[in-house]
């Protein structure tokens, strides 16, 4: 559904995205995971026509983004990281303007449909600035879904939301997937990537350092983690490929040892090498 071929984008001397290539299948939830500054938002901006890449090519549904941006805009929906609703207008007015921009047919009934799907019927005439953060995020989703996009981009969708609202949002995203839409989301929440995404691409300094299902990624680097405190009081994590190997390491420690299943953060740490260095120092 989405094909990215060696795209690069620099801002001054900083390479925000560096020869990035990957594909996203139709109907999957694909997560771009990485810390702040990894290039996630720049990738989304390129795919949603806000930013032109310095090099490379991108295709959505076989349409070239650079050659034919208007056609791309007809099939995508975007929920940006920063709330860009018109704060002084009502929820309905925001959707009305957006629907007109996207030439949505039967706009008024379609607005009622998305408001109902997002549980926003009673907020229809509320001015956006009076809504809570969670409701504003839902309004952003309703707006993006109004023209029934084939691909939905969610840039850090649950940033700043309370844990229970975050879980509500995940339910909504799963529902969007069940309607056959392709979802690309960026996140730096490990749990979000693990529980929500069919496949995850891990970004670091603008480069893709791993790609696969969450379980594949964990399997590749090791499914078990031994955690203990070293003699200087620092927490040390060591990833192991088998339970037996984890037990062996744990046995060498007298107290404060914990064995747990690995998560995507462990994968990231192992691949970027930062915490591996700590283990060596600790040992």
């Amino acid at each position: 559904m989405i094909r990215i071929e060696s795209i690069s984008k620099s801002y001054g001397k900083v390479k925000a995205v560096d020869s990035l290539s990957f594909e996203i299948k139709k109907g999957e939830i694909f997560g771009l995971l990485g810390p702040n500054g990894a290039g996630k938002t720049t990738t989304v901006k390129i795919l949603t026509t806000l930013t032109k890449p310095d090099k490379g090519a991108c295709y959505i549904d076989e349409i070239d983004i650079i050659q034919n941006p208007i056609e791309i805009k007809k099939i995508i929906g975007v929920v940006p990281q920063e709330n860009n609703l018109e704060r002084e207008l009502t929820v309905y007015e925001n959707l009305l303007i957006y629907g007109m921009l996207h030439k949505v047919k039967n706009l008024k009934s379609r607005i009622d449909e998305v408001l109902s799907a997002m549980g926003l019927q009673d907020k229809k005439n509320s001015v956006v600035s009076t809504l809570s953060g969670g409701l504003q995020r839902r309004t952003l989703l309703a707006r993006a879904l109004l023209p029934q996009p084939k691909v939905l981009f969610l840039d850090e969708p649950s940033i700043g939301l309370d844990p229970h609202i975050r879980r509500e949002l995940w339910q909504i995203i799963r529902k969007i997937k069940s309607e056959g839409r392709t979802v690309l989301l960026t996140t730096h929440y490990i749990e979000e990537a693990e529980t929500l995404c069919d496949r995850v691409g891990i970004l670091s300094h603008g480069k893709l350092i791993a790609l696969g299902t969450p379980s594949e990624l964990k399997k590749d680097v090791g499914e078990y983690v031994v955690e203990f405190t070293d003699k200087d009081g620092r927490l040390v994590s060591q990833i192991c490929h088998s339970r037996e190997q984890a037990y062996e390491i744990a046995k060498q420690r007298s107290d404060g040892v914990m064995i747990r299943k690995s998560n995507l953060e462990d994968v990231f740490v192992k691949l970027t090498g930062e915490r591996i260095k700590e283990i060596k120092e600790g040992q």
Binding site: T49, T51, K73, N84, E86, E93, I97, Y98, M100, L101
Partner: protein, 247 residues
């Protein structure tokens, strides 16, 4: 559906809300009223114009030109700058399947409405105060072109400024001197010849010439052509900036 309409509608919905706040109309009228009182009713009593017209009759069309310039320009420049850099709402247009040209038309038309609204307030005052102020077809056409020209210039500023403070800088360097030296408060004939080329480069000078005419003579025709030229240049540059938008 016409491409520019949703952009125009959004601006109008926001404008409607601003109008409902009492403070807006007062603030829009404040500067021109101050000028009217100090220059027109105060200093103006001592001013004698060569053509025999009273000063207030001379001043009012100038104030309409100045006010339409200020409002068309500032509204567009400021709202575009904020929506692009601060609220990020401009991204919604860029990510929608509308042509950059349509965004430009929507923004300019919205700016024109705001400029015309402010002008209407001054025109109303013009008919209340004792003067021979009157409106003819040339006045109306000039006013429309002036709003179009400065709303388009507002788009250019709104698209190239890198921070909200920049908008004020552009305003202080270009708009403010134009308001004072382009024939709003005194006839440009009084300006020393050495400065005249600069004065005639300023687009508002030509609005001030044209808006006071009762018939089209050579001078009016030249000013009309200059205004049309500026309208075309500003509109094309603004459209091009929309087209080349890249974050």
């Amino acid at each position: 559906m016409i491409g520019w309409y949703p952009i125009f509608l959004k601006e109008m919905l926001q404008f409607k809300r601003k109008l409902l706040r009492l403070g807006y109309i007062f603030s829009a009228m404040m500067a021109p009223i101050i000028y009217l009182v100090t220059f027109g009713l105060g200093l103006g009593r001592t001013v004698k114009l060569s053509e025999g017209t009273d000063y207030l009759t001379f001043l009012l069309p100038g104030l309409v030109a100045m006010s339409s310039m200020n409002n068309s320009y500032s509204w567009v420049a400021s709202s575009l700058n904020l929506s692009r850099l601060y609220f990020k709402t401009f991204q919604v247009y860029i990510q929608s399947p509308v042509k950059p040209f349509s965004i430009m038309i929507g923004e300019v038309l919205a700016g024109m409405v705001k400029g015309l609204f402010a002008s209407l307030l001054i025109i109303t005052v013009g008919f209340v105060v004792p003067s021979n102020f009157s409106i003819n077809l040339i006045f109306v056409v000039t006013l429309l072109f002036n709003c179009f020209m400065f709303a388009s210039l507002g788009v250019i500023t709104g698209m190239i400024t890198k921070s909200h403070e920049d908008t004020a800088t552009y305003s202080n360097f270009f708009i403010m001197p134009m308001a004072f030296f382009s024939g709003t408060f005194f006839s440009i004939d009084r300006i020393p010849t050495i400065f005249k080329p600069i004065i005639y480069i300023m687009p508002l000078t030509h609005t001030n010439v044209l808006i006071r005419k009762n018939y089209i003579d050579t001078e009016a025709l030249i000013s009309l052509l200059v205004i049309l030229l500026y309208c075309t240049i500003f509109f094309l540059v603004g459209s091009n900036l929309m087209k080349k938008y890249n974050e």
